[in-house]
């Protein structure tokens, strides 16, 4: 009994120290973001702000200079929203349809296609960046919102297709057979029978995709064009100043603002995320 309690204590000690280790940077970021400029130099990095203020937050949001423009990070926020929402919606829908087609319908060459997808899912972006730029430019989409959205969708399709395919492969194929006898077409079976079954997987895919696209830096920088730079790129421009004075509290506030949307998604849907992953693991 005693030994057990001791072991439990050790466990807690480990968990708490791990949590502290990972939370420490977040603590510093939040503390600094609430400090007025006067406190930045004098006090220790770890000290709590003496006179907490929202000043840095509002500056970061609407006045901070990123490059030449001084409209704050909100410009990037709305750009990111305009990139992320369509990219997530498109890629998750296409991934689900692809996965359905590959798992439930006997298509010629489906296994070859699946192998190619697997390869595609693990190719690092950087390798094909240059050919992709040429390709997107040839399509006349370089430096536009549809261009960057397209690139995101294309790159996430392999992994999303695999995710959905494996989930659908775990469903009894007789359900689709029954629906085919009952008069469903490919699309009506997908919409009426398969889609309602996939809510767990859809949440998983949305979280993965939203986080991935929102946190993306490279594609946004290369493909979006000056007018549509996403929040991550703007954050970098804000923090990486080559002249003037560094206002650390503004940097920190902007960082938190940029990281907030994926964080909120996790907090709101994390429960379903874990559930979806386990469901896929158990059934697959």
């Amino acid at each position: 009994m005693n030994r057990r309690r001791f072991a439990r204590l050790g466990l807690y000690a480990f968990a708490i120290s791990a949590a502290l280790f990972f939370l420490a940077p977040l603590y510093v970021v939040l503390c600094t973001a609430f400090k007025p400029p006067s406190e930045l130099r004098g006090a220790s990095l770890l000290a709590l702000p003496l006179a907490p203020t929202w000043q840095a937050w509002s500056r970061a949001w609407s006045h901070a200079c990123t490059g030449l423009a001084c409209d704050g990070i909100r410009v990037g926020f709305w750009n990111s929203v305009r990139i992320t929402l369509p990219a997530v919606l498109l890629s998750v829908s296409l991934g689900a349809v692809n996965g359905f087609a590959l798992s439930m319908w006997r298509l010629r060459g489906a296994s070859v296609l699946l192998g190619l997808l697997l390869v595609g899912a693990f190719i690092p972006y950087q390798i094909i960046l240059y050919p992709l730029v040429t390709l997107v430019a040839a399509a006349g989409l370089f430096g536009t919102l549809p261009g960057v959205i397209c690139v995101h969708v294309i790159f996430s399709l392999p992994i999303l297709t695999l995710l959905f395919r494996n989930f659908y492969a775990s469903l009894p194929p007789e359900i689709v057979s029954a629906a085919r006898v009952d008069g469903g077409s490919f699309w009506s079976i997908f919409w009426h029978v398969i889609r309602p079954l996939s809510s767990g997987m859809i949440i998983v895919a949305v979280i993965l995709q939203f986080t991935g696209v929102w946190n993306d830096y490279l594609f946004g920088l290369v493909f979006a064009g000056r007018e549509h730079l996403p929040m991550t790129v703007q954050l970098n421009n804000l923090v990486d100043r080559t002249y003037g004075e560094n206002d650390y509290s503004v940097d920190m506030a902007a960082t938190v603002l940029t990281a907030l949307p994926p964080l909120l998604i996790y907090l709101l849907a994390g429960r379903y995320f874990v559930r979806g992953i386990t469901a896929a693991a158990v059934k697959g």
Binding site: P172, E174, I175, S177, A178, R180, V181, V193, P196, L197
Partner: protein
């Protein structure tokens, strides 16, 4: 009420032939059971008729229409699956109405048909539930209901009762028989359970390695199997198959069995037998209930159904090696040469059986198969 005709159907999975030039004719309003061991191609055949799988060669005709290349829902069929395959996210009512909704049936008519089917299958109080909230038997009822709500001309059943426990299976068997009488539709029923096939079907097709081995009415198939395979597959326990030699000397036809000679008496040979030579190796088949058992020299007969009085019938004295009580009857296993011979007798009589018994085989009930081709002589 569609007639179904499958002609020269072939299908392979890689190197494995699932259907091998198969022909099947099902008459309108008939109840045909496809019976066979697993891997014989019976489910493949059903899926081919349904249009869920494509043939490599051959054609499928439903109601005199070539449907070989048609999608399942254009074939005017309905199907019940082994795993029920209910749509998990829909309520029972939505499951029942799915096909009608897909076909664009007016809502008022859908309500009427669903209500009628729910009443017929006594699932009215389940309409608002989801499949996960139903028991196995209830799910099976819903699956059948989903099929019959279509009012199709052909119903296909793919081992629908194999996931149910024994009592429920007997109950659902009656239910399906009742439905067939009531709907008057053509039904094709895949099963590996011969009790189901015997009790439900108007004709049984026994399948083996992608071909139909024999297709006949249940009683005819039971009494006169055309091949040794069918003899050894139908019946529980199946027909005893004993190696022997067919002799014809001096106008008499008899079989030499390991335990002694057996006169054939009134055995009716099929057409291909008369040309057969003397001393032809054969397999003699006899149903366990057609084996008469007597205890030693005791004149008493142990199974009443059997007439052992025939003095010309050969008598064998054999050791009993095992007894298998089944309730009303008991299977007695005897050593017959190198073979095991099963006899089915009254279970009260079996209890008093000595360790050696005398047996007679009813000559008018035996089947004789060519040892080489395994076909009936």
């Amino acid at each position: 009420m569609h007639a179904v005709s499958v002609r020269d159907a072939s299908k392979r999975y890689g190197a494995l032939p699932a259907l091998d030039g198969l022909n099947l004719e099902v008459r309108a309003a008939e109840f045909v059971a496809l019976l066979g061991p697993s891997g014989c191609g019976k489910s493949t055949l059903l899926n081919v008729i349904a249009g869920l799988e494509e043939l490599d060669a051959g054609s499928v005709h439903i109601a005199d229409r070539d449907v070989t290349r048609l999608e399942p829902h254009r074939r005017d069929i309905a199907m019940v699956f082994q795993s029920y395959a209910l749509y998990p996210t829909m309520t029972v009512a939505e499951n029942l109405s799915f096909a009608l909704r897909m076909a664009g049936t007016p809502a008022a008519q859908i309500r009427k048909r669903v209500a009628a089917v729910a009443e017929l299958l006594r699932i009215g109080e389940l309409l608002a539930r989801r499949p996960a909230q139903l028991s196995g038997g209830q799910r099976q009822r819903v699956a059948i209901g989903r099929a019959i709500v279509r009012e199709a001309g052909l119903y296909l059943f793919d081992e629908p009762l194999s996931n149910l426990d024994a009592n429920l299976r007997a109950e659902m068997r009656q239910e399906i028989r009742r439905l067939h009488q009531r709907l008057g539709a053509t039904m094709i029923y895949v099963t590996h359970d011969q009790v189901e096939a015997m009790s439900l079907a108007s004709r049984i097709a026994v399948m083996r390695q992608g071909r139909i081995e024999q297709m006949d009415e249940p009683q005819a198939m039971y009494a006169q199997p055309t091949t040794a395979f069918v003899a050894g597959f139908v019946g529980s326990p199946p027909m005893n198959l004993l190696p022997g030699t067919l002799r014809r000397t001096g106008g008499h036809v008899w079989v030499e069995l390991p335990g002694g000679p057996m006169p054939l008496g009134s055995y009716r040979f099929s057409v291909n037998a008369p040309d057969a030579p003397d001393a032809q190796p054969v397999t003699v088949g006899i149903r366990p209930e057609d084996v008469c058992v007597r205890a030693g020299d005791d004149a008493r007969q142990w199974n009443a159904a059997c007439q052992c009085g025939d003095a010309r019938a050969a008598c064998f004295e054999l050791p009993v090696i095992a007894r298998e009580p089944l309730g009303a009857t008991c299977i007695v296993w005897c050593q017959f040469g190198t073979e095991r011979l099963a006899a089915m007798i009254d279970s009260r009589a079996a209890a008093a059986l000595p360790s050696r018994v005398r047996l007679q085989l009813r000559a008018d009930r035996i089947s004789i198969f060519c040892a080489r081709s395994a076909t009936r002589l």
